[in-house]
């Protein structure tokens, strides 16, 4: 193992990065991440390489991570040697020849695909990237490299200030590093919002060895995908954060536990760990110090409760990922009964920034009580699906309505589901509350790990609660009766309500189950009724409409609606053809729906929108 100093690493990295920052010939950057791969970014990349080679153009093609503008993928950025940079959206492989023709060979701008100008100002009619509604107001610290550097190139990361925080930390006493993290008041970004510095102090105080540093990258909350973006766009930020954590707490080994649904982050984290090892940033005598640390990437196998810290520990121990009973806490007896510390991806990735800059710099962003920035992912009924980073305390409406663009035209915001299935739902009337834990907690809701799923008036709250309860029941580990049986009873009651057999007494039963669930061992069981409780609190009218009048106002609950032919139309033959169950039948020249066969899939109404309607199953049509 050669002993390398940070300065040596940096000098070499700067050379590599210069070619990207001030390219001597056209540089083409293609964002390849999970969200862009699924819309063909790899094919775009391939097509660009082919086209550039075939035409013998003076240009380099480079892979980068995800800028967060999922709605506009695949994104391609063209930077000419004269410094003119344009970001193009929805560049599928078939559009590549046109793009190359106009923008590279022709030296112009491919207007119909151009999204924004890269750099500080706009030009020739293109808005600056930072002035797009989605980008304006963002403070990109964790995401500074996302969509900018090549996630597979450690030199890019180092040249942009990477591992400087580690180099600084290694010159400090571990106790001072812990203190600095504590002073920043960084709290766990995974949802529990517990002080990261304090957690580290617990592990530092543990005497038994070996000690483990564990990263919870089992981002299981459906609708949250911020950790995924960070790991696949800037994997070294997490590696650096964990090494600093290891130094501060005297840990020997780290595990990064990534969910099975994230193959690309697994691959990129593994590559990053390997590169860090080759550069002497992992292994024995890191950066010439006497500190040794190893990292390993572990791929999960599809289990939500492994995102609970003790569930994750069980999973690492080669068995069912069932959450354990605390105490002992992980810092006393974690994985293999040795002292361990578990943090979320975003918690670790903030640490290099705190060390590199300073506590003051880091804490300059955020609200009075909650410092720093937080990443959020927008999905559901929102016009711009994507990932963004804002200071804590930013009004929810800023993010959802302005940056995300709110629900599609003609629809009204109904509510927002932050975090995951265990977090609850806030109503549209609370959309102004700041994005930080307290205002959400006051409403019996959790801000959670960064997912924001948006509901509009076409959605039914009972239907959504059925999904949450189904999820909680399906993912229950089976230890506590209050959880595995409680969620099942809750699900039965909700399904009864959505099928028109609800009774008023059911409401009391649900509340009772909600109280009982608090006796579960882990947060999965305790949090299972949260969404249903927020339905009681904020959407009671809609719930009562289901129970008392057997009506689903959004016409979603399958047991409360039926499809009917409202009037004959020339579109009905198409409806007949599309029906998967032959439920659109013709008798004596006129069409009707066979209610026994109908599975209520809505395909016929898509074909004949005005001729076929959804009517209430009970009560006046």
């Amino acid at each position: 193992m050669t002993l390398t100093t940070y300065q040596e690493l940096r000098a070499k990295a700067d050379e590599v990065w210069a070619a990207v920052e001030k390219p001597e010939r056209t540089l083409i950057r293609v964002g390849v991440a999970t969200c862009s791969r699924v819309v063909g970014a790899e094919e775009t990349l391939e097509a660009l390489r082919r086209e550039v080679q075939a035409r013998g153009l003076d240009a380099d093609v480079m892979v980068t991570g995800c800028l967060g503008l999922c709605y506009a993928e695949p994104l391609v950025e063209l930077m000419r040697a004269d410094g003119v940079g344009v970001l193009y959206q929805r560049v599928t492989a078939d559009k590549v020849p046109a793009l190359v023709e106009e923008a590279i060979a022709g030296d112009g701008i491919a207007r119909e695909m151009a999204l924004a100008a890269v750099g500080d100002g706009g030009f020739s009619g293109l808005p600056a990237l930072g002035s797009l509604e989605f980008m304006r107001g963002q403070v990109r610290r964790l995401m500074a490299n996302c969509g900018v550097t090549d996630p597979g190139n450690i030199d890019h990361y180092i040249a942009r200030g990477g591992y400087e925080g580690l180099a600084k930390a290694l010159r400090m006493k571990p106790d001072d590093v812990v203190k600095q993290v504590e002073d920043s008041r960084l709290w766990g970004r995974g949802g529990a919002a517990f002080s990261t510095g304090l957690k580290w102090e617990f592990l530092r105080g543990a005497r038994r060895k070996p000690k483990y540093m564990i990263c919870n990258a089992d981002e299981g909350d459906p609708g949250s995908f911020v950790n995924r973006n960070l790991m696949e766009s800037d994997p070294h930020l997490l590696v650096e954060g964990m090494i600093i954590g290891g130094w501060a707490t005297d840990a020997d080994k780290g595990y990064i536990y990534i969910r099975d649904e994230y193959p690309l982050p697994v691959a990129r984290m593994e590559a990053a760990v390997q590169q860090a090892r080759e550069k002497g940033l992992l292994g024995n005598g890191i950066l010439g110090s006497n500190f040794s640390f190893e990292l390993e990437v572990v791929r999960g196998a599809g289990s939500y409760v492994c995102g609970d810290e003790t569930g994750l520990l069980s999973s690492l121990e080669d068995r069912r990922g069932m959450p354990k009973i605390k105490p002992p806490f992980p810092a006393q007896a974690g994985v293999f009964a040795m002292p361990s510390n578990i943090n979320n991806v975003e918690s670790y990735t903030n640490v290099p920034l705190i060390m590199r800059h300073s506590v003051q710099w880091w804490a300059a962003m955020g609200s009075e009580k909650h410092k720093g920035t937080k990443m959020f992912s927008l999905s559901g009924q929102v016009q711009r699906v994507g990932i963004l980073e804002v200071p804590l305390g930013t009004p929810t409406s800023e993010v959802v309505m302005r940056m995300g663009g709110g629900p599609p035209p003609g629809r009204r915001l109904k509510g927002i589901q932050p975090g995951g299935p265990l977090s609850g739902v806030i109503p549209a009337s609370d959309v102004e509350i700041p994005l930080e834990p307290d205002p959400y907690r006051e409403r019996g809701v959790l801000m959670g790990s960064g997912g924001l799923v948006i509901l509009d008036d076409s959605n039914c709250i009972v239907d959504l609660c059925i999904y949450f309860e189904w999820f909680a029941e399906d993912e229950s580990c089976g230890r506590c009766t209050t959880c595995f049986a409680g969620t099942r009873r809750m699900l039965e009651i909700l399904r009864r309500i959505s099928s028109g057999r609800g009774r008023l007494a059911d409401l009391e039963l649900i509340k009772l189950l909600g109280r009982i669930a608090q006796n579960a061992n882990c947060f999965h069981g305790q949090g299972a009724p949260t969404a249903v409780m927020s339905m009681f609190r904020f959407f009671e009218d809609e719930l009562l409409e289901h129970v008392e009048r057997k009506r689903c106002p959004a016409k979603v609950c399958r047991g409360l609606v039926r499809y009917e032919v409202l009037h004959q139309s020339e579109l009905l033959p198409a409806a007949e053809a599309i029906c998967p169950t032959q439920a659109v039948v013709r008798d004596n020249g006129s069409y009707r729906i066979d209610q026994v066969k109908c599975v209520k899939c809505d395909a016929c109404r898509e074909q004949a929108p005005y001729a076929i309607g959804v009517v209430d199953e009970f009560g006046p049509a």
Binding site: T34, C35, V38, V39, C70, Y71, G220, P222, G223, S224, F225, R228, D260, E261, Y262, E296, V298, R299, G300, A301, G302, S303, E317, D318, R319, R320, M322, A333, V335, F336, A337, S379, G380, V385, G386, Q417, V453, L455, N459, D463, L464, Y467, W470, E473, C477, R495, S499, R558, I578, P580, T581, Q582, V596, K597, V599, C601, D602, A603, E606, Q607
Partner: protein
């Protein structure tokens, strides 16, 4: 004072393993370099599933021997993780995203339609063994909601009509262009089962 993970009774391998000798040999080869208490059981399961498409029953005693534990603990672990399968997959599998963004955009409608067209219930294989429908978790590609995945390809945002058209096309391809989709009696049967299931207890695919 805190014992090692309580299940570790540290057993030696259980007698001769029943099953196909070829499978046993291949699995033994795949897990040869792994050892207990080193966070490697998940890796072992991934390797085996990657090779066979599922985890064959022969793996259970072999893993128990390798990880010095009981077959029950191994089977309990396999059973716990939803991405680890114990049945061979269908000829082709359609994956249906169960996430909230897809749900809010009407994924249940697509599910009902796919179940009817492919004559296959969620997390089951169709009677002819051709099609599998699998419920998968959100991976954050929500700009495509509602979506289904098929052999690595993502399809979305889908209307129900598009999903039906695509699934019928898939049936035609798999049936060598014999237009099997016209076999209405079989489709009818599935519909019957689904209405019986009524309270959507099958929603979870249990």
């Amino acid at each position: 004072m805190f014992s090692q993970a309580s299940h570790n009774s540290r057993l030696r391998p259980v007698g001769p393993v029943a099953g196909s000798t070829e499978v046993i040999a291949r699995i033994s080869e795949l897990i040869a370099d792994l050892r207990p208490d080193n966070v490697e059981l998940l890796a072992a399961l991934h390797r085996i599933q990657h090779e066979f498409g599922y985890v064959p029953r022969e793996a259970v005693p072999l893993l128990a021997g390798k990880f010095e534990t009981t077959p029950a603990i191994i089977f309990g672990t396999i059973d716990f993780y939803s991405e680890v399968r114990t049945e061979p997959p269908a000829e082709t599998t359609v994956e249906w995203c169960s996430g909230p963004a897809c749900l809010l955009k009407g994924s249940l409608n697509i599910r009902r339609a796919l179940e009817a067209v492919l004559e296959c219930q969620m997390n089951r294989t169709s009677a002819n063994g051709r099609f599998g429908l699998r419920l998968v978790q959100c991976d954050g590609t929500c700009q495509l909601a509602p979506l289904v995945r098929h052999e690595g390809r993502y399809l979305g945002p889908l209307t129900v009509s598009e999903a039906i058209g695509w699934a019928r096309e898939l049936r035609r391809e798999m049936g060598n262009g014999k237009g099997e989709m016209r076999e209405t009696p079989a489709e009818k049967e599935v519909v019957g089962q689904m209405s019986e299931a009524g309270d959507e207890a099958k929603e979870a695919g249990e």
